[in-house]
Homo-oligomer: 134 residues x 2
DNA sequence: CAAAATACGATTAAATAAAACGTATATAAC
DNA sequence: GTTATATACGTTTTATTTAATCGTATTTTG
């Protein structure tokens, strides 16, 4: 129940790291992965995901790297997890892609849906700048 | 990030089922597992866990079963997940049993701890009666 | 052109969760 | 008392999910 995954941890570490630098100072995936002792390939993918969703801006080529594209105060924890994982929900059946095998006899369809909504609202209410103290 | 596990789902289903009956009407693990199409052994363990933590009262023998021991308004979602999983936290490093391999270079120790506290407070604020509409 | 960076699909490995198995114990019905 | 049915609980196996690795392409600086 309710555990954070590595992608999320790595993303928070990277954002904390990047937000401590000036806008002209690019940060490479290698730089973060080495300083934080995180596998390079995994860190790179996390940064790519954040860049493709518009939170970071990527510069190609040698001496390239990433820089913040939006202020962290504008992005919530929920927003970040959506950038990394797409649709986020308490259970698979809420994603409506898979109808769930026991949906015919399930007696908590509505309760789960309501709780899910509450949880999402909570995570939407917490900004990244608040979490990271930046 | 933030997914509910099966134990939790099964527990909510069982509590919803049990709470719809009178205090004299015992509910067996078999009854719930068959009606909800949940593996009997798994359902049985969930009920045992809830009984050992005082949320349910167990009656032995033929015609035995479970009955609510405490009102659901007194127990939170956080409380329920603790009954099923013990210590609950966003990350393993917060459980302080395992010190985490990158703790020396981790730059989000305090942010994670603060976020974890907020999340726990949120889940403590939601009662089971509220979730289950009982 | 060579070096160093992002981009991204595919595969493999590790960790976790879920389910199944086996046995013991308690109690009601007969 | 014997049988049937229930809880109790530790162990093992299987399935699923997550994390990490591999391989290759593209871009840009020097």
């Amino acid at each position: 129940m309710n555990k954070m995954n590595k992608k999320m941890e790595y993303a928070l570490m990277a954002l904390k790291h990047i937000s401590g630098k000036s806008d002209q100072d690019l940060t490479s995936a290698k730089e973060i992965s080495e300083q934080m002792h995180i596998p390079f390939e995994v860190m790179a993918k996390v940064l790519q995901a954040l860049a493709s969703r518009g939170l970071l801006k990527a510069e190609y080529g040698a001496s390239g790297g990433y820089v913040l594209a939006r202020p962290l105060s504008e992005v919530s924890v929920h927003g970040l997890s959506e950038m990394l994982e797409g649709h986020v929900a308490l259970t698979k059946c809420l994603g409506n892609d898979e109808p769930c095998e026991i949906s015919g006899t399930c007696n908590i369809t509505s309760p789960i849906s309501n709780l899910n909504k509450k949880v999402q609202e909570f995570y939407k209410s917490v900004s990244l700048s608040e979490v990271l103290h930046v």
